[in-house]
Symmetry: C2
């Protein structure tokens, strides 16, 4: 048993090594590498430095550069729960890809909703002179902004804070609810139930608004006896089975894929076939579940990857953003075999 030290002694190439090999001063190397304006360096010396840099494989010390410039190539991402859901993982993935594409590195901190961990993560990021911070939650909701976020450029991802002046990027819940309902209407259904979550949230109100608007456009009167509240998990979907059967609905829009999975179990216990006897539409396109139910679940995808990527683009000023209205990202339909 030893402690893990694996040939760490290898000598790193320094600016001093480059200066020596090129026969110039360290200051000259620094000026050439940093493209400092107004510095007069002969073409010859400049070329020699560049050749030696290539030859020795010298990589400029990014930390020294950060100190010189006052801001780093880091973007911070503070997430409340990357560990307990596959969702936030996709936000990280999208943010990382977009950050790398633009020459930035993502510093990720998971806070588990713990206030002290969050304060520490933000302080750490400020100490590292991040270019800015993405503050993200694993489900779409309104937040109160940690005051220290105002010390840097901040974009809220999958959350928003009215009146904070911070730009935000969130999923378009209303369009998503409309898209889900339209998928059922397009299959010929007219009596469509909606199992909605009991948790007050933009998803609860937005998906309901989308459901209503799709029905209205199809000339179907909204009937609130077809809307059933349930816990947004498998257990909630299963528990809704009796109400769904009594409602005589021929199709069900479920608040999320977990609810749909529970409803599948309930419908099966009554010997009902999906979609022949009753059609089921999910929401989220949740990994590990949606594509693997029997039959595979038709659903609407939460655009988590795109939320992360859009947040970075807004932070870097590549995409424009608003300080008063959250930017909406569309929830696209995913057609499988349950409708």
């Amino acid at each position: 048993m030893t402690s893990p030290e694996n040939g760490k002694a290898e000598h790193a190439i320094t600016m001093r090594d480059v200066a020596k090999a090129a026969g110039v001063s360290v200051a000259t190397v620094s000026v050439v590498l940093n493209n400092k304006p107004g510095a007069r360096i002969g073409d010859d010396a400049r070329r020699r430095v560049q050749e030696v840099v290539a030859e020795l494989g010298y990589r400029p010390n990014v930390l020294a550069k950060t100190l010189a410039n006052g801001t780093s190539r880091f973007i911070g991402l503070v997430a409340d729960a990357i560990a307990t859901t596959p969702f936030a993982g996709q936000i990280i993935h999208g943010a990382q890809d977009e950050a790398w594409k633009n020459g930035y590195v993502l510093l990720v901190a998971n806070t588990d909703g713990n206030k002290a961990a969050e304060d520490e993560a933000i302080a750490m990021m400020l100490e590292h002179q991040v270019h800015g911070i993405l503050y993200s939650t694993w489900y779409h909701r309104e937040i109160s902004v940690p005051p220290s976020l105002h010390k840097t450029t901040t974009v809220l991802v999958d959350c928003f804070a009215s009146g904070s002046g911070l730009p935000a990027v969130v999923p378009d819940e209303t369009q998503g609810g409309r898209t889900a309902t339209e998928g059922l209407l397009a299959a010929g259904h007219r009596r469509i139930a909606f199992i909605n979550t009991t948790t007050p949230s933009p998803a609860q109100s937005g998906r309901l608004a989308g459901y209503r608007s799709a029905l209205e456009d199809a000339g179907i009167a909204y009937d609130d006896s077809l809307v059933f509240p349930a816990l947004p998990e498998q257990e909630g979907g299963y528990a809704s089975t009796a109400s769904i059967l009594e409602s005589k609905a021929t199709a069900v829009f479920c608040h999320n894929d977990r609810v749909a999975m529970g409803l599948y179990d309930g419908l099966r216990e009554h010997g009902l076939r999906i979609p022949e006897d009753i059609a089921v539409m999910g929401f989220d396109n949740q990994d590990v579940i949606a594509a693997h139910l029997r039959p595979p679940l038709s659903t609407v995808a939460l655009p988590h990857y795109e939320l992360g990527a859009a947040g970075v683009r807004m932070l870097l000023g590549i995409d424009s953003s608003s300080n008063t209205v959250a930017t909406l990202v569309a929830c696209p339909p995913v057609q499988r075999q349950s409708v």
Copy 2:
């Protein structure tokens, strides 16, 4: 529409501000803050500096400290797929908690198994003078080590590389397979089928070895007609239903929870009740699935959080490690209602 600049102008406290307020030189402040050995600073000046630091809320510039010390308070984590599985998220979570506990910050890079992205991530981490790198995969397997990992202290997490000399921490698949089988034996079963994965891997061989060893300890002869190969997903479990029924097994150990979920569907179609007619044991304790099947699934947990935490402890020399044999982390049983 504006670009997001939110009061970023706030002046950060610098070492210069501290020096001015304390009536000493910047060099003196630096010596006091960095506890440089051999420097002679009067007790009075030292105390004044410390008081001013507390009063102004000055935070030493960690990047400057890194430059001075030659190594940062960063630990790198290179992961091949944090986005497509909830598993790797738990590795990150465990690594982050342990890193923070010891005053380190985790730099996370997701590579999606892309070689170029991986090389770039490792180069970026080396540039930032990380204290070391955790290299992790989302499922337990043997890897070939990217050569640049030998330039720093590296610990392999959920993977290993024979003969590389790199320490590794992996789940104890054999113990896990034994624990799963013992759970079925303890419920009185003697004819226990095993649906194993078709993918050659330490999980395939280890869980089988554990299954055999538990049977042997119970005085039951191993019968390879009770072992069925299947794709390690819901579809594989479902497709195994007929073979399981023909085998007359009273209990089934499934390679993972997704296989168990598919088998549930197949058994239900034959009107069989779990566990009254046939007991089902999973593996992984996969989030979103295991606790939410009907009935909730008894399983064995993959210790991803603990793998990440143990990796950091080995990297920091808190836990000892071996350069020749992977360190095993136990897979604990999770009892629910399917056995």
